[in-house]
Symmetry: D2
C-alpha cells in the first residue's frame, strides 16, 4: 500500500510500505476513503514531537471502510463505514472508565500517526476498534465526517466545554486556523453574545466572520478595545487559545475578566509566562487538555440532523496520491487561503 | 485612639490617630477586642502593595464589639460582638449578587487595611456592616473566631473548594505557614486519603503533622518520591500553593497528575513560568482567587459545634499596645516558631 | 389611584384605592407604564392561594417609572424606567446572599400581588428597590421587558437550567401556555436537537411551532411515538412541566429517559402520584422551584442585543382602564387565542 | 455445585445444580469464597421482582477466586482474588462509556442473581470480567470486601453523592438497615454536622449510633423536632430514603428544607404520593438511582488504607452450606438483631 511516511525532521514521502495487518484481536483494518492533515502533523515534520519516531506513517483524522476485524471485535464488521477518531480508547483502564479516553493508560490515547502508524495511507490498522471508531450514518458525507475526527470534538471539549461557556457570554478566540474556526462553530451551541476573534491574517478573519464571529480583530490590543466598546471593560467571560505559542496564551490571560476562564487548546512547544502577580487576585480558571472525544457521538448526531454546519472548513480537495501536494499547500496555509485540506480515495 | 499606621516601605508605628467615625450610613464603628497580623501586612510593609497608601491603618482580621451604627444598618446594633471579615461586601453590585464578594464593585472587596483604614487599632470603621460582619455565638472565643476573618475561609474556598478535593484524593500542600496549615485543617472536611505537605522549616512540618498532614517533606523532589511510594506515580489529585513565589507554584504544576487541579492561594509579586509544553496535553486545571468569604457562616457554625478545631494555629498572644513587638515576632515567624499572633484589648 | 383588587374567590374589581406610598426607606414608588396578568393571578381568583388575602391589589409583572424613593435607596432615582421583578429580594438574608432570591427570608420572595399590594395599578410600592428592580435600556420596549418580569426567567431557570439541558438533547415541554412557550424560546439558547411540545389546543401548538418547537403533539402517547421515531425510544433527556396538574407531571415522569431530568415549573394545587416502583431504578432527577430571577439581568442584555426574540408572546393589548376586559379575555385564553395580554398606561 | 435457587414466590432451596461454565469469551468463572444476602433477594422471594424467573440462582454480592477466564478476558487470570460487583458492565455501550454502568445496554447492569444466575453458589459465571470485577489487595479481608459489592457504593453514590452532601450539612437518613447504616458511614467522608437517623427499631437505632449518627429517633415527627432543636426549623439539607415504602419517601419530602435534596436509595414496589402542592415552590431536588459502582475502586482504596471502617455491619457468619439458615435469620433481621450476614466457603 501507499502511505505518508515521516523520515525525521523535514523529511516525508508518499511511498510504498507493507500493507497494514491485524496485530491484536481488537484491531480493525480500514480502507481509507478520506483523510486530512492536522497542524500537529506539521509540528511532527518540524521535529517538535520527539515521541514520533522516523518510519511512522502519519495521520490521525480519517473516514474509511472496514475490511477486516480481529476476533475480539464485537460491534464492527467488514463493510462498515466508520469515522476513525484521533483518540484510541482501550475501554477498560481507569481513565477510559472515567470517560477520559485521551488519557487512556491501556495502550490508547493519541497513538495513531504518533506512536503507531496512522491513517494517511491506503489502509490503516485501528486498535480497539469497538471503542475507537464510529459507524457513520448515510446522511453524513465523508468530507463532513472528517471534521469529527479531531477538530470539532477538540474545539468543543477542550475549548467550549472546558471554558464553561454560557448563553450570553462574551468569548474571545485567539487564532482563526481550523481549531479556532471550529471553536467558533461549536461555541454557537451555547449562544454566546459576543464572539471576538483575533488573527493577524485577513483571510482567516474573513473565514471567522463567515462562520459566526461577531467581531474580528488583528491584535489583542484591538480585542481589548472591542471588549470595552461592547460593554465588557473588565474582560471576556471566556478566552480560548487556539494557536500554541506564548504570545497567544498570554493574550488570553490578559483579556479574561475576573472570574473568567482561559481554555488552552493549542499545542505548545515552549513555556509561557503566567502573570500571577496580576492574576492571583482575579479568580481565574485556566485549563489545558487533550481531547477525550467523549462528545463525538453527540456531535455526529447533530451533524446528521443539520444542527451543526461545517460548511466552509474544507477549502482544498485532492486524491490520496496527491498527498505531497496537499502537504505543500497546507504547509503554507495562509498563503494559499487554506483551512482544512481533504484527500479522497478515488476508486 | 491608637492604631498601627503604615508610613511607606519599611516604616510603621503604633501611634495616636483620630478616632474612627461613621462616614456612610451603612457603616459600623467597632471596638477591637482581638486582632491578628497577616502575611499580607508584611507584603505591604515591604512596599509590594502599591495600592496601599502611606498613612493607612493596617489590618483586616479582627473581632470586636459594635459601638455605633449608621442609620442604614438594619441587622447590627451597638453591643453586638462581631467577626470583621477581611472582605467587605456592598450586597447590591452584580458580583455580590452572584456571591463573589471578593470581587465587589460597589465599594467593597479587600479594602480594610488596604484602601481604607483597617482594624489594627482600638476602633475601626467597618463599611457595609450588615453584609460584612458576623454576629458571634457565645461559645466561640475571640481567639478562635479571629481565624475566620481570613485564613480559614481563604484556605477552604481558594484552596480546598477551588481544588475540587474529593474523598480519597491525594493532596499536596506547598507551604506550612498559617494558610497552608489552615488548608490542611479544612481539607479534612473532604476526607482526603493523603495530605503531603512541603515546607523547608522543620518546625512548620511539625505543626503540619499535628494538624493532620499524613506525610511531611522538605522539598518537591521528596514529595514526588512520597507520591510514588503512596501509589500515585502520576502525581497528586490536587496541589494547593500556599506561599506565593514562583518556585512553589511551579512545584505544584510539576506534582499534579493529568486531570488534576492546582489551586493557587499564595499572594504573588512576580510572574511564574508555566510549562505549557508539558501541560497542554495533561488536562490540568489551574485556579487563582481572592477569598469571597461565602463559607464564613458555615465555617463559624462548624467551629461552634466543635466540628472544626483550630487549636494550635495561634502561637503568640499580646496586648493591643504590644503591636510593634507582635510585628517583630511575626516578621521573623520561622525563627520564633510563630504561626498566628493574636493581640487582645485588655480593658 | 385605580387598582385591580381581589375581594375573595371569584370577585375582583378595578377600583379607586389610596395611592401607594413609601413605607420603608428601601421602597420605591413606581408609576406603572405596562403590566400583564399571570396564570397565577387566575389561581388567586379561584381561591387556590389562601396566603393572598382579600383586599390585596394583584399583579407581579410590570414596567414603570420611578416617582419616589426612600432614603435608603442608593442606585435608583425618580425618573428611572425600571422592570419590576416578580421576586423581591432583601439582599442581606442568607438566601439572598446565596443567590436564592426566591427563597428570601428577609421580607422578600414572591410578595407583590400576593402578600402585599401588587402592580396591576396606576402606582405601586416596590420594596427593596435597589435589589428588586432593573433599569431598562432604551432599546428594550415596555412590552418586551414585561416578559422578563416573570415568564422568561421562570422558564429559563426553573425549566431549562434546572433541567440541565445540553446541546443536542431531546426536550419535551408539556403545555404551550405562556410558560411553556417561554421554555421553548429560552431552551434554544442551549441548542437542543428536538423540542417536542404537548398541548391539546391546536392554536397553542401553532404558537409553539412558530416559537421553535420541532414537533408538536396533542397527547403524551403521541409524544412517546414521536420520541421513538426521532431515535429516542428510551425517552427524552429533559421534560419540562409547564401546566400544574397531576396528569402533566405524570406525563413528564413517563416520558423521561433513564438518567434524564424532569423540571417542574407549573404551580400545583393537588398532590401527584410518583411511580417510584418504576423510577427507583432509572436514575431520574426531579426538580421543583420558584424562580430566583438571578438570570434576569443576563436575559435583559440578550433581549437588548436581539439575541432572544419574544415576538409573538403578547397577543392582546389594552389600556390600564380596560383591566376587567383583559382579565375576561385572559381568563378564557384558549377560546380567545390569547397568550400574554399587556396593559399600558395611556397618558 | 450447590447453589441457592429461586423457585417462585416463597420457594427457594440450597441444592445441586450444574456447574457454572464459560459462555462468552469475556466471562470468568469464580469460586465463591464469601457471599452475602441482600434485602433485594428477599423482595425476589416475595415475588416483587417479576423479571427474575424461577430457576435462577440468586445473589449479587460476593468475593471469590477466579478459576477460569474466556479468551477475551485480558486483565484477570485464574488465581486472582476478586470482588464481584453487583453491577456488570460491558464497557462499550454508550451508558458504560459515560460511566453509567448501572444502565448498561450491552448486556450488563444488574443481571447477577436477577436475569442470569448469581453468586449464592459454590461457583459463579461473571460476565465482562475485566470491567465487572476488582482485584482485591491482600490487606482487605473477604468479609470487609463483601460490603463493597453493593451496599457501600450504593449508599455512597445513590445516597450521599446524589444528595450532594456538603461539609456542615444536616442529613436525615430514613431507615437504619444495612443501606441506611452504610449511608451513615459513607456520609462521614463529607463531614456533615448533623446525622439524624429515623428507625422504629431500637436495636437498629443503636447500630446507627455506633456507626456515627448524631441523633436517632423513632419517627419523622421526632426528626422534625430534632431538626428544630438543632437549629434547622426549615428542614434538613439532605434526606436519604433507605427503606423503599411510601411512608419513608414521604417523610423525606416533608423533612427537607427549601433548596434541599431528597435522594431515594430504597427499592420501591408501589407508587408514592408527591405533595407538589407544597413542593412546587420549595426548590427541591429528588433523585432516584441504581448504583453505577463507579466509586467502587475508590472506596476499596479507602478501605485498604483504613480510611473507611465497616466494622459492625456484618453481624452473623455462616458456612456456605448453611445458606438456608442464613436466609431465615436475615429474613427476620430485626428479631435477630441482624444487619448483614456473611457466608464463607470453608475449604
Amino acid at each position: 500500500m501507499k502511505a505518508l511516511v515521516y523520515h525525521g525532521p523535514g523529511r516525508h514521502a508518499w511511498e510504498q510500505v507493507p500493507d497494514a495487518t491485524l496485530q491484536d484481536d481488537r484491531d480493525a483494518i480500514v480502507r481509507i476513503d478520506a483523510v486530512t492533515i492536522c497542524g500537529t502533523d506539521l509540528h511532527i515534520l518540524k521535529g517538535d514531537v520527539p515521541t514520533c519516531e522516523p518510519g511512522t506513517v502519519l495521520g490521525h483524522e480519517a473516514v474509511g471502510t472496514i475490511t477486516a476485524v480481529g476476533a475480539g471485535v464485537r460491534d464492527r464488521r467488514p463493510g462498515d463505514r466508520v469515522l476513525i477518531s484521533c483518540i484510541s480508547s482501550c475501554g477498560t483502564c481507569a481513565a477510559c472508565r472515567a470517560g477520559s479516553y485521551g488519557q487512556c493508560t491501556g495502550g490508547g490515547g493519541w497513538i495513531l500517526g504518533h506512536r503507531i502508524n496512522g491513517v494517511q495511507a491506503e489502509l490503516a490498522r485501528v486498535p480497539f476498534a469497538d471503542t475507537s471508531t464510529y459507524v457513520l450514518p448515510e446522511a453524513v458525507s465523508d468530507e463532513d465526517a472528517l471534521l469529527l475526527a479531531d477538530i470539532l470534538p477538540t474545539s468543543f471539549e477542550v475549548g467550549v466545554l472546558n471554558g464553561k461557556l454560557e448563553p450570553g457570554d462574551s468569548l474571545v478566540v485567539v487564532g482563526a486556523g481550523p481549531i479556532g474556526l471550529a471553536t467558533i462553530l461549536t461555541s454557537r451551541l451555547y449562544s454566546p453574545a459576543d464572539v471576538i476573534v483575533i488573527d493577524p491574517s485577513a483571510s482567516r478573519r474573513d473565514a471567522a466572520k463567515r462562520l459566526g464571529a461577531t467581531v474580528t480583530v488583528a491584535s489583542p490590543e484591538e480585542a481589548r478595545t472591542a471588549l470595552t466598546e461592547l460593554g465588557h471593560p473588565a474582560g471576556a467571560d471566556v478566552c480560548v487559545e487556539a494557536v500554541g505559542i506564548p504570545a497567544t496564551f498570554e493574550a488570553c490571560c490578559s483579556l479574561v475578566r475576573p472570574g473568567g476562564h482561559v481554555a488552552n487548546v493549542g499545542v505548545h512547544g515552549a513555556p509561557v509566562t503566567l502573570h500571577l502577580e496580576d492574576l492571583w487576585i482575579r479568580n481565574v480558571t485556566i485549563t489545558t487538555g487533550l481531547v477525550d472525544t467523549r462528545t463525538t457521538a453527540r456531535l455526529l448526531a447533530m451533524l446528521e440532523r443539520h444542527q451543526l454546519s461545517v460548511h466552509g472548513l474544507v477549502t482544498h480537495r485532492y486524491g490520496l496520491d496527491e498527498m505531497m501536494d496537499a502537504y505543500d499547500v497546507f504547509g503554507s496555509a495562509d498563503a494559499n487561503d487554506a483551512l482544512k485540506v481533504a484527500l479522497f480515495h478515488r476508486g
